[in-house]
């Protein structure tokens, strides 16, 4: 093999690399926060909503879960401006990631709600709580605790899939890799290091969120 590996060529791009990792993490954090909040509403609608609202949520979930993320991203970034909805690449990326994560999270949260024993809801009502209070204070905490590990996995999957947003020129970690390899001609080394960085971020994020979960749902986590 005549190829000499040269990882040293990458060292001078450390700042750029950190910036890219920051963008990837920020995108994930925003999409996760908005996505989980929306999915709680979506799951509640799927469970107790009016018939047409339930059908709407079901259609949304099926449509997103049965199409590739990259097509959703292209549709939002290239397709929607034709309707007059112009947005920057960053906005499109956040929108696509949020829409994608929400669909998967609705299914997860719904399973969590269904696993809460019906007695909990009845007990809440027996105490004279309003329906909204029963949901927010009695059902929701238990539902989220039930499926917390699955939600963590879904957020990590979203982070890994977000590598695709580099294709619409969002300067995330993968885009930084594209840039570095075009400068150094060290494609394999660059992508190798960046892949390991993603692995580290995935492992770190899982560790952090599992610890946070133990605090948040003390004793409830299965």
């Amino acid at each position: 093999m005549g190829y000499q590996f040269d990882f040293g060529a990458l060292a001078s791009y450390l700042t750029l690399f950190l910036k890219g990792a920051g963008v990837t993490l920020a995108l994930t954090a925003i999409a996760a926060t908005i996505g989980i909040a929306l999915s709680i509403g979506g799951a509640a609608t799927a469970r107790w909503g009016l018939k047409w609202a339930r059908a709407l949520v079901a259609a949304y979930v099926e449509l997103i879960r049965n199409t590739p993320f990259i097509v959703q991203l292209f549709f939002i970034f290239f397709g929607l401006p034709a309707l007059g909805l112009k947005m920057t690449a960053l906005q499109a990326a956040i929108l696509a990631m949020t829409i994608n994560l929400t669909a998967y999270a609705i299914e997860i949260v719904r399973a969590g709600i269904e696993a809460v024993p019906p007695g909990q809801r009845e007990a809440g009502f027996a105490l004279g709580l309003k329906p909204v209070s029963v949901f927010v204070y009695v059902i929701l905490p238990q539902a989220i605790a039930n499926v917390y590990p699955a939600l963590v996995s879904q957020i990590i999957i979203t982070m890994l899939e977000s590598a695709v947003v580099s294709q619409i020129a969002v300067t995330d970690l993968t885009h930084v890799a594209d840039f570095i390899q075009s400068r150094t001609y060290r494609a394999f080394e660059t992508y190798f290091v960046i892949t390991l960085a993603y692995l580290g971020m995935a492992v770190g994020l899982r560790w952090l969120m599992t610890r946070a979960g133990r605090r948040l749902f003390a004793g409830r986590l299965r």
């Binding site: 590739p68 990259i70 292209f74 290239f78 892949t195």
Partner: protein, 216 residues
């Protein structure tokens, strides 16, 4: 702007969708064989097989598929292999599928009661005979619904092959968009074609799962 009839656009996209299906099939068959080997390694004799398979699965599930694709695309030439887009996409998706299928099937093998292993061992069967006649047939039934479910994920993942220049459905969408300047229509159609391919599989998986639940 060139005016292209809707029918021509649709026809072009549908022709490209064949490549999406072919790539999915290659990855599924290759991944299935790979997963089977991993499974034998996992349950077979040298005990470090467990750790090795675990590491492999962690590596492939903990990194973006896009970067795995790039590593294969830029890595194979270093080994002296001349890569075409379909080869790179095929290899990367096969590795990806093997990791996921190995993890899914591991759960199914674990669901076979311990006594089945002991009973077959007491009949003097060696590891391969146990796997072939006792364990795999029993895990096969419960493995079908999640495997069909994974097929949907794999089919969607083939869209990333467009990035290394493989002309499947998503790439065809890009090409048509560049010619017609109708991204809303074209990407809408692309999404619908993916949906038409994936939804029946999703539906099947759900049906099979329900059937299995009732059988228990």
């Amino acid at each position: 702007m060139i005016n292209v009839p809707l029918w021509d656009i649709l026809q072009f996209l549908l022709l490209a969708a064949r490549w999406t299906l072919l790539l999915s099939a290659i990855a599924f068959v290759g991944g299935g064989i790979g997963a089977l080997v991993l499974l034998l390694l996992r349950y077979g004799q040298p005990r470090y097989g467990v750790r090795l398979v675990h590491l492999y699965v962690e590596l492939l599930q903990g990194t973006p598929l896009l970067l795995q694709l790039f590593l294969v695309f830029f890595g194979l030439p270093l080994l002296g292999v001349d890569v075409s887009p379909i080869l790179a996409a095929g290899v990367a998706l096969t590795l990806y599928a093997s990791a996921f299928l190995a993890e899914i099937w591991r759960g199914c093998v674990d669901a076979v009661p311990r006594g089945q292993w002991d009973a077959s061992a007491s009949l003097g069967m060696n590891f391969l005979l146990q796997m072939r006649y006792i364990i795999l047939p029993q895990s096969f039934r419960i493995a079908i619904p999640p495997t069909v479910g994974f097929l949907v994920q794999l089919l969607k993942s083939t869209a990333l092959a467009s990035i290394v220049g493989f002309a499947e459905l998503t790439k065809a969408g890009q090409i048509v968009t560049n010619a017609t300047f109708q991204p809303f229509l074209v990407y809408g159609l692309v999404a619908l074609i993916y949906f038409a391919m994936c939804f029946p599989l999703t539906f099947c998986a759900r049906l099979l799962e329900r059937k299995l639940m009732r059988a228990r």
